[in-house]
């Protein structure tokens, strides 16, 4: 019993060391959690050694009537006991056996289809903004809600949003430029990126991005850049974007369309969720699902599943080797 426990504990620590040595850690957990997992390997190792020691060297005087452990197995006898301990042993060995039979791999477009790829991550931001403005709890702290808060009915949220956006655009637009039409985005002059206190960091990023010849979606700020592009998609329409990722396709898409997507991970693979930019293939090259590509093209706006989303008209497509770290992570320094 003790030896089996020791065997498992040591097994876990060896497995974690193996995973680290083989550079497989990115497949399982986010870099910011890695130290925790490595720490747990150390603790497992120490505990395992302890178990071996205790199995080898019996205690000098046994503590009497310790009824505080192993409540589960104590009361079962005979066959039921051996059956349950056998199934427990198999369960405990499962992770080792299964990872031997089916070695780990990065999440692919199959899983992306199950989880649902997000094309418009900023949709959430906008909706919450409208909710925020009408919330009485923040009415005092937020200067914006003073001007917009009392105007509209709290029941109709879509109206609210429009009113608020309008008032915001007026607010921002007045001092700098008289006509802040989003349509003027294609001009050389940088357009106005309307923002409130919550979207200000995205507006700042948008200003930086706008001046670039080709906007490259980088590894470090993958999520942030896509969200910014989506938030100000009217302004960014017509700009050239370059984005690396894996190819995702599903039945809902129109012919010739695909998505260049990535999984973003918070802590571990279980919470990885896919998102990307919907693209249309204007090259002669064919794309295959799960292939890693770098697409470059002009950003437009199109309709997809009743939503207005960004559509990248890809004119240059290049196959790239699969990324060593297939996932992207939220940039913790962003906005600070």
């Amino acid at each position: 019993m003790k030896l089996f426990c020791a065997f498992l504990l040591l097994g876990w620590s060896i497995m974690i060391v193996y995973i680290t040595k083989q550079q497989l850690m990115p497949l399982y957990v986010a870099p910011r959690m890695e130290w925790l997992v490595k720490g747990s390997a150390l603790v497992c190792y120490i505990l395992g050694i302890f178990q071996v020691y205790m199995a080898a060297v019996p205690a000098k005087h046994h503590s009497p009537a310790c009824n505080c452990t192993s409540l589960e197995t104590k009361h079962k006898r005979g066959f039921a006991n051996s059956l349950s301990s056998c199934s427990a042993a198999i369960t405990l060995l499962l992770p080792f056996i299964l990872s031997y039979i089916w070695p780990p791999m990065p999440l692919s477009s199959q899983t992306a289809a199950l989880k649902g790829v997000q094309y418009a991550p900023s949709a959430s931001l906008k909706q919450w903004t409208s909710g925020q403005a009408s919330s009485p709890t923040d009415a005092g702290s937020s200067p914006k809600s003073d001007s917009t808060g009392p105007v509209y009915e709290p029941s109709n949220s879509s109206d609210q949003q429009e009113v608020e956006e309008e008032s915001q655009s007026n607010k921002v637009g007045q001092p700098s430029q008289a006509s802040s039409e989003p349509r003027s985005a294609t001009n050389a002059k940088a357009p106005i990126f309307e923002a409130d206190e919550f979207t200000q960091i995205y507006a700042d990023l948008a200003k930086q991005l706008y001046n670039k010849e080709v906007i490259v979606v980088t590894e470090k700020q993958y999520m942030e850049i896509i969200l910014t592009l989506d938030l100000y998609k009217e302004q960014f329409a017509g700009k050239r974007i370059r984005i690396p990722g894996f190819v995702y396709q599903d039945k809902e898409m129109e012919k010739g369309r695909f998505a260049i997507a990535r999984f973003s991970m918070q802590c571990c693979t279980a919470d990885a969720s896919p998102f990307g930019i919907l693209s249309v293939n204007k090259t002669k090259q064919n794309v295959k699902a799960d292939e890693w590509v770098e697409g470059e093209g002009v950003l437009t706006i199109a309709k997809h599943e009743n939503n207005q989303v960004m559509l990248l008209e890809v004119d240059t497509l290049r196959s790239i080797p699969a990324k060593e770290d297939p996932y992207v992570y939220p940039d913790l320094d962003f906005g600070s």
């Binding site: 426990c5 957990v29 009537a65 009824n67 452990t69 039979i101 571990c268």
Partner: protein, 350 residues
């Protein structure tokens, strides 16, 4: 030994072996269904699917292991070093409601996430903490702590009231749960725990401990850690396995689409999703944030509050401490109370 003799006197606490296996039967059925679904996929993609499954499976375990170990170490240290009547004395001195409120806020002092919770709660009860307070703490600590608040605020950058709401709703929910549990325990003592007698023995056992020198104490603690690790890991592994199967075989959009029909269904659907996904309380806010464009804030709050209190892998681990019918009751209560408070909160805020 003493406990097993006592146990046979108590017919309610002595179910037949067949019944003992029952807690594993339901998850097993789910497991088989999911395996069936996976096996029915087209053959070419099978290997890939299974490989994805193991990746998610091991990933959940790797992520849970540090927190489980923390919980076990804490529980073993409490077992060996804290006076056996520590909590009992506290419970005598303070009135029950104060204790429950204190337990609800316990997460701020001692933030343990749900993976490492069960060993600690069990130990607290063995040290005399009233079950009502223990259950309150068990439900509260994974949500009501600064880490979860921070991560929720990050996930909803444009809606700070979401994080506030999560805390507030969770607080009132656990208070209600604590109140109900204290009534139940008052009426029927055997309802809650699998082996109630083992929670009354500790005083004699641990009195002997005080004369044992430190190395032996440490040895005793290490012994405990090993046993508890085994016991909890069995259930954790099982839960992680089902969760991973669910994650790699079930399209999420089914639940989200189905929940469009009416608000009540939306709440239920999202709570089911939270239950099955079994995410960490620190990262589930980001998943919830990805639903914001489609779903109402009240049901998102339900998702955020229900998930950490009850999910697949913790249910399995709870079975080492609580009776099945109590877990079922707790789940039903949460299913009712969480949407209620979430709706109330949202209607106040918006």
């Amino acid at each position: 030994m003493i406990s097993s003799i006592k146990r046979s006197d108590d017919p309610a606490a002595h179910p037949s072996p067949r019944l003992l296996q029952l807690p594993l039967l339901l998850p097993l059925l789910l497991l088989l269904t999911l395996v069936g679904v996976l096996a029915a996929q087209p053959l070419a993609s099978n290997a890939e699917l299974w490989r994805t499954f193991t990746t998610v499976f091991v990933s959940i375990l790797l992520e849970a292991m540090p927190f489980l170990l923390l919980g076990i170490i804490l529980s073993s240290l409490v077992h060996v070093f804290i006076a056996p009547d520590f909590f009992r004395n506290m419970a005598v001195k303070w009135p029950r409601p104060v204790l429950v409120v204190f337990a609800a806020l316990g997460g701020i002092l001692l933030p343990i996430c749900e993976c490492g919770m069960i060993p600690v709660v069990r130990k607290f009860m063995q040290k005399g903490l009233p079950p009502a307070a223990a259950v309150t703490y068990m439900c509260a600590a994974p949500i009501l702590n600064p880490i979860v608040y921070a991560s929720t605020a990050t996930a909803f950058p444009s809606a700070p009231w979401m994080a506030v709401g999560r805390m507030a709703v969770a607080f009132f929910v656990v208070l209600t749960i604590g109140w109900i549990v204290s009534i139940i325990v008052h009426r029927r003592h055997t309802f809650l725990l699998i082996h109630p007698e083992s929670y009354r023995e500790t005083s004699t056992h641990a009195k002997n401990q005080t004369y044992i020198p430190l190395p032996n104490k440490l040895r005793h603690a290490a012994d405990h850690m090993g046993k508890e690790w085994m016991e909890t890991t069995v259930y954790l592994t099982f839960g992680a396995c089902i969760t991973a199967l669910f994650q790699t075989s079930f399209p999420r959009s089914l639940i989200v689409d189905a929940s469009w029909m009416n608000p009540a269904l939306e709440h239920i659907g999202l709570m089911t999703l939270a239950y099955l996904l079994s995410l960490c309380s620190t990262s589930d806010a980001f998943i919830a944030a990805s639903f914001t464009s489609m779903l109402a804030p009240a049901s998102l709050l339900s998702f955020l509050v229900f998930g950490p209190m009850m999910d697949l892998k913790t249910t399995l681990m709870m079975m080492t401490v609580f009776r099945k019918r109590f877990i079922l009751l707790l789940a039903c209560l949460l299913l009712l109370i969480v949407p209620l408070f979430a709706t109330i909160f949202i209607s106040i805020v918006l």
